[in-house]
């Protein structure tokens, strides 16, 4: 079948030009629908732009992004860059998209692919992010790997002491993120190994609650980090970071396996900031669900267990990728085609109604 058989308002608007957005756009346009992408930034890529290399095989993030972009351009998907949709309005069977008071366009179907935001590590003040220059987030460290940001310690330090804190803003009811971000563990291991291979003399510690190495080859990566790279894993979270000697940080933690407090001086402290909804909760609740916000993790909820992406109680509104909760890239890509299939079915049903 081709797109012309559908109702006039069968255009699909995809909000978000990250991996989820691009892949969903590809899947739909391959199915013969006219799709357009609204991306608030000036170019496509989302968080993938900021990554250096990807677990578990260390593929360069730029390569993957390059491939995706090429395909999107090849299919001539219309792009609305620099346009951030902050309000959706139900109009008949379809939707009107707004940026403030400015109408951005209309569409029969809207697919939310706005992904996730990284937890603002400043909310865990005790870890001193934003206070001490030697405290970074995982994303900052990727920027360092990409040479867009300098190392927080002097080039004279050949044997830096480096600490990674897992579950920062994940599994933390007080921060309103009760979920496990599920990528941080393996990311920490990946980054710890990267640091070790850049500074073989470095002492690298990972402070974890549980190591959740759910994916294929993640556990192997963990063992490699222990045996081949000598990364030390300490079960227990940091209590606080304070200024130490010179530029160093003085951090305290509990080694829960030994039941003893411990402290050490670090040249760099990396916080594994978890994944939180891209919209601020209030915005999302008001703009998308048209209701008053409740405090909680607030990822986009979908219909039942079987539905891949049709959003709860919202005709013609779908969600794809990490905006529904933490997801790895492979999961995002798989999800995209599943969502595309649902969108297609929805439009078919509209057509049937239209004929009847």
């Amino acid at each position: 079948m081709n797109a012309s058989e559908y109702l006039p308002n069968d255009e699909v608007a995809i909000i978000g030009g990250g991996p989820a957005g691009m892949q969903t756009a590809l899947a739909l346009s391959e199915r013969g629908f006219s799709v357009r992408i609204y991306e608030q930034k000036e170019q496509l890529g989302g968080h993938l732009k900021g990554w250096h290399h990807l677990f578990p095989h260390g593929v360069a993030a730029s390569d993957l992004l390059g491939q995706l972009k090429e395909q999107v351009l090849a299919r001539a998907v219309p792009l609305h860059l620099g346009q951030s949709v902050d309000r959706l309005q139900k109009v008949g069977a379809g939707w009107a998209l707004w940026q403030g008071e400015r109408p951005l366009g209309r569409a029969g179907v809207v697919v939310l692919a706005n992904g996730f935001a990284l937890f603002d590590a400043r909310r865990k003040e005790e870890y001193g992010y934003g206070l001490y220059p030697s405290v970074l987030t995982a994303a900052d460290l990727e920027a360092v790997f990409r040479k867009e940001q300098p190392w927080p310690f002097g080039s004279d330090r050949m044997a830096p002491q480096v600490g990674f804190v897992h579950c920062v803003g994940s599994r933390d009811l007080k921060c309103g993120s009760p979920h496990c971000s599920k990528l941080c563990c393996v990311t920490a291991v990946k980054q710890a190994m990267a640091v070790k291979s850049l500074f073989p003399e470095a002492q690298v510690y990972c402070f974890y609650m549980d190591l959740r190495m759910h994916g294929l080859e993640y556990e192997e990566l963990y063992r490699k980090a222990q045996v081949d790279y000598g990364v030390r894993f300490i079960r227990g979270r940091l209590s606080e970071a304070a200024p130490g000697q010179g530029k160093r940080l003085h951090v305290k933690a509990e080694d829960t396996l030994q039941g003893r407090p411990l402290h050490l001086q670090l040249d760099m402290l990396v916080l594994m900031s978890g994944m939180v909804p891209a919209f601020l909760l209030e915005q999302q609740e008001r703009a998308v669900f048209l209701k008053e916000p409740v405090f909680g993790s607030g990822f986009v909820p979908v219909q039942g267990l079987l539905a891949a992406g049709s959003v709860v109680q919202q005709e013609g509104l779908f969600a794809s990728g990490a905006c529904k909760g933490p997801a790895t890239l492979p999961e995002v890509f798989a999800d995209a085609s599943a969502v595309a299939r649902e969108v297609e079915q929805y439009l078919k049903s509209l057509k049937a109604v239209g004929h009847a």
Binding site: R123, E125, A242, P243, G244, Q245, H250, K252, H263
Partner: protein, 353 residues
């Protein structure tokens, strides 16, 4: 998160006219300190500071050890205030951090429980036929010294700098818990931003060190110290502080609380005896000064008149660094001759000329 505003951590300090109350511990262990303070305030800065020899202990230590009931201490505090009122002063200047905390506590209770204030007035009247007004300003001597740091610094011949190398001396401060933690708003910077001492040291050109256990208790803890069985706990707390500051090789520990001043000084000896360890490089210990002792030294007062020979950790190395002249022979001149020089510790290095 409500933004931090610096002014929330500031304190109004009147410029003049104070009624001064002493500290039991300070005048016992560091007798020169309060004399020096009064001398500075009155003679160097020409302030009006009045002292009534009839004032007594605030009984704070006994109160914190549950030996003195609340009603009693309230009445004692009321009596001090009545002396202030009688002398016609409304600004109370307190030398002791424990007392300072006690005054704050009582005023706070009276504010929230007027009936208690009434009971106290009644109790005081019945027992002494005295009455009192509440102070307009409650100021700790460190507050005042901090407030006057500029004029003092201007008059000072010395600076907190190593004379030979021109290196700024490293200062670690310890602000008394009862100054900073019970009623943080009652002092400068509270516990979050302790500035009352660091500000002073920096004015004198010293370099502040923000060491990890900066806010940890010195270990006094009243009953923990007073009962020998618990004394080890007090000592352990001090040890945590010393171990934390050791790495930064400080030249000086600066305190504003007489109790802390004593423990951070004396426990260095005790720890040295017990563990054979000192927390400086030379094995002489880290010198400890209180805010008024520091001010007096900077203003060029004579160390021995100031009573620095009463310190366990000797001050000579610091004096030499700063380049303060002193008569080594005069150090124990008020003692009955060389016969009764103090005994030598077995670990901590001391020198008697």
């Amino acid at each position: 998160m409500t933004p931090l505003l610096w002014k929330d951590y500031q304190k109004e300090v009147p410029d003049n006219h104070y009624f001064f109350v002493r500290s039991c511990i300070r005048q016992t262990f560091f007798p020169g300190a309060e004399a020096a303070l009064l001398d500075i305030l009155r003679n160097s800065l020409g302030l009006d500071v009045f002292e009534d020899r009839r004032h007594t202990t605030c009984t704070g230590i006994a109160y914190h050890c549950d030996l003195v009931p609340l009603e009693t201490i309230m009445t004692v505090i009321a009596r001090q205030l009545s002396l202030m009122t009688e002398a016609g002063y409304r600004h109370l200047l307190v030398s002791c951090v424990t007392s300072f905390g006690i005054y704050l506590e009582m005023l706070d209770m009276w504010q929230h429980h007027p009936e208690m204030l009434e009971q106290t007035r009644e109790a005081l009247w019945k027992s002494t036929r005295r009455s009192f007004e509440l102070p307009v300003a409650l100021v700790h001597t460190s507050d005042l010294v901090y407030h006057l740091r500029k004029p003092i610094a201007d008059r000072s011949p010395h600076r907190l700098v190593d004379k030979s190398t021109q290196r700024a001396l490293r200062v670690v401060d310890h602000v008394g818990c009862h100054y900073a933690k019970i009623f943080p708003a009652g002092g400068f910077g509270g516990a979050e931003f302790p500035s009352v001492l660091s500000g002073l040291a920096e004015t004198f050109g010293g370099e502040m060190v923000d060491y990890p256990e900066r806010r940890h208790c010195c270990g006094f803890g009243f009953r923990h110290y007073l009962l020998q069985e618990n004394r080890g706990y007090s000592l352990s707390n001090s040890r945590i502080k010393f171990e934390s500051m050791e790495a930064f090789a400080p030249d000086l520990i600066l305190t504003n609380c007489p109790g802390c001043n004593m423990f951070l000084d004396r426990w260095q000896y005790t720890l040295a005896e017990m563990s054979g360890k000192t927390y400086d490089r030379e094995g002489k210990g880290i010198p400890v000064l209180s805010h008024e002792e520091l001010a007096a030294l900077m203003l060029g007062r004579d160390p021995w008149t100031l009573g620095l020979q009463m310190h366990q950790v000797q001050l000579e190395p610091l004096l030499d660094k700063i380049g303060i002249a002193y008569q080594a022979r005069q150090k124990y001149s008020m003692l009955a001759g060389a016969a009764s020089l103090p005994g030598e510790p077995s670990v901590l290095k001391v020198s008697f000329q």
